[in-house]
Assembly symmetry: C2
Homo-oligomer: 215 residues x 2
Amino acid sequence: MRVLVPFAADAPKTRLEPVLSADERAAFARAMLRDVLAAIDAVGYEPTVLSTAPLELEEPISAPVVVDDRPLTPAVDARLPERSEDDPVAVVMADLALATPDALERLFAAGGDVAIAPGRGAGTNALVVRHPEFRVDYHGGSFLDHREITAEIGADLAVVDSFRLSTDIDEPADLVEVLVHGTDRAPASLRERGFELEADDGRVGIARAGNATSS
Amino acid sequence: MRVLVPFAADAPKTRLEPVLSADERAAFARAMLRDVLAAIDAVGYEPTVLSTAPLELEEPISAPVVVDDRPLTPAVDARLPERSEDDPVAVVMADLALATPDALERLFAAGGDVAIAPGRGAGTNALVVRHPEFRVDYHGGSFLDHREITAEIGADLAVVDSFRLSTDIDEPADLVEVLVHGTDRAPASLRERGFELEADDGRVGIARAGNATSS
């Protein structure tokens, strides 16, 4: 199985702008990428980063980087199986900071012509494609579109039930999940920048250097 | 194993006030409760509803109802195992509208002295208690507190990785998840009231009778 990790190297994580500067967002996005690559590696696969721009990965993480500056959908489509005897292709988003080897192993082992780990808001956070006719459509509500596409081509769909894989890190409120459930570099990256959990009014939010951001 | 389903019968789901009237919130909360009870029943357990007020369940769902008007923490604590030979006790929240028998079976079979399915924001959406010294603390950030309590009493903690069990339905944005992944009465209850999914600006929200509520 080939495992692709799409990464927006040019303008990562813009929705975190309220709490992180551009440089900080870039560093945090790379920390999440490193944790995702390490989790895939721990399952026993060699991931390939599918990046929108050239990218130097820092030691100890290394992975081949393929640059494709097209939007996500055509960049992924160009790498899906075209014949039934081709290797399956897995696509795992680079901002799944809670991903663990166990969660990924459940996805990789799920079977089905297509296996999807949905995200909140009907997203597709990770998938495995074994069917040669399946093509992706990552524009909004992609889980619904992907479900429809599998039905149209007569493919089996396996839906993988994982909180960890359902949690992509996009907005300030999502940082709580990284601090509670993150595995390595991503939570460390936040803590180094002064973020910590803060219980406030019965809910848990994040605080930074005395500056609270409720979730 | 005894399975408790706490239910706030007196003022359910106040954070859905922007999109549902008080009567509608009460009906929707009962629809979610019915789906949760049906999922537990399908695993082979007879759930007990732990309600803050007397409650009539409508056919075809029936379950014993125990009324306890104390806050959630003491009401649950009073029913946890007190000796190691007591039956384990599972506590499954009534607003886990995406719960399926498969997801609950993974929780019930997870092992550990305590097994928790965390919710977003460090919540505890469902748990199984086998250890006689464990007591709950549902006030904010309860997953963190429960993790600390298990460590203090030297108990093993199993964390169950389930998107379905991590999704409690509290806020208008959560209704998207019910329409996409809900199983039976809860999504039907929303559709009967005119709610549908709406793709807008690349994200999926909900709309009602021409009145859009973005998620």
